[in-house]
């Protein structure tokens, strides 16, 4: 439930960037207004407060219009520097970043990518399971005649079921460890290249995929072995 909510919030964050930037701007504007009010209470002169408010309003207008035009901070720092220089030439402004950039710089985008990767990874896993089921079903169905001959020669039903299941289990014994090792290696590579820990990814499909593979592999074998064994 919390995971679904997080995904929904992040999706909103991606789709409603303009609205979120505007809201963030309103929030910071409120914060600065409160700061000015407090400074006034602490003895700051009304003239400086007026200048600051004017500056803030000017910056806010510039900031919002620049955000809406999506003209990524190329002209914005220059405009801000000019505005602040006009207010107080002694102030040095360095390394300007918009609040939206600060927020975007956090882990949100990486977590979103991780969750999307998890979703698509799960989808691929499902398709692989369906594919495996299909191929096993086909290979067992092809051997119906052989199984029939074996039965005619007196092979016991349990022996036939074990014969087919054993082949699936051998494939699982080879493929399972390779799959688990690959999944663990991929998770480590992902963790090393990102600041998002695998613990933060819901369900952790890669580490649990062997369970699904294990269940997907022998199932058709049992089913078709049983069917063939009951053939008369």
């Amino acid at each position: 439930m919390v995971w679904a909510r997080r995904c929904w919030i992040r999706l909103q964050g991606l789709l409603l960037r303009g609205r979120n930037a505007q809201q963030l701007h309103d929030e910071i504007q409120f914060h600065l207004e409160q700061q000015i009010a407090e400074n006034l209470g602490a003895g700051m002169s009304r003239e400086i407060a007026k200048d600051l408010r004017y500056g803030l309003r000017l910056l806010a207008t510039l900031f919002v219009s620049m955000e809406w035009q999506m003209s990524r901070a190329t002209q914005l720092p220059t405009t801000i520097r000019t505005t602040i220089r006009n207010l107080n030439p002694d102030l040095v402004v360095d390394n300007i970043k918009t609040a939206s950039e600060l927020v975007t710089d956090t882990l949100i985008s990486q977590l979103l990518m991780a969750e999307l990767s998890t979703f698509f990874g799960g989808l691929v896993l499902l398709l692989v399971c369906v594919g495996l089921y299909g191929s096993m079903t086909y290979s067992v169905a092809r051997r119906t005649r052989e199984i029939g001959v074996r039965m005619a020669l007196g092979a016991p039903r349990e022996g036939l079921i074990w014969m087919v299941t054993r082949e699936a289990c051998i494939e699982l014994a080879i493929g399972g460890p390779i799959g688990i090792a690959a999944a663990v290696a991929a998770t480590r590579v992902f963790e090393a290249s990102s600041s998002v820990s695998a613990r933060q990814i819901p369900f952790r499909w890669p580490r649990r995929s062997w369970l699904l593979r294990a269940s997907a592999w022998p199932l058709p074998s049992f089913r078709y072995a049983g069917q063939c064994a009951s053939t008369r």
Partner: protein
């Protein structure tokens, strides 16, 4: 008075969650509360506070709602979610363990 210190890395989330555990607050009130409670030692800058608030909102540990303040101005009020309360307990326990361990090292060496 000494200059307020920067926050210990990784503790901002805990401080915000703890501040919101009593009642919903807007960003300014959260920053002021942390400053007051810490005896003016900790000061949260806007550049850290708002990204952190948005990060916590994305993690669904806090939720936000626009409401009127006592001055009639609209402000974004943040409150703790159920998941946030659980996270607060977890982070508070981690912090107690970590600070106790650091104290042990500092006092014995």
């Amino acid at each position: 008075m000494a200059k307020p210190n920067d926050l210990v890395q990784g503790t901002l989330d805990l401080l915000i969650l703890k501040t919101l555990s009593l009642e919903p607050k807007h960003g300014w009130a959260i920053a002021k509360r942390i400053q007051q409670i810490s005896g003016e030692v900790l000061q949260v800058q806007q550049g850290s506070l708002y990204p952190a608030l948005h990060r916590l909102e994305q993690k669904a540990w806090i939720k936000a709602k626009w409401k009127e303040t006592e001055t009639g101005r609209q402000a974004k009020f943040y409150s703790l979610t159920v998941a946030g309360r659980a996270q607060l307990e977890k982070e508070a326990a981690n912090w107690s363990r970590l600070s106790a361990a650091i104290n042990l090292v500092v006092e014995t060496t």
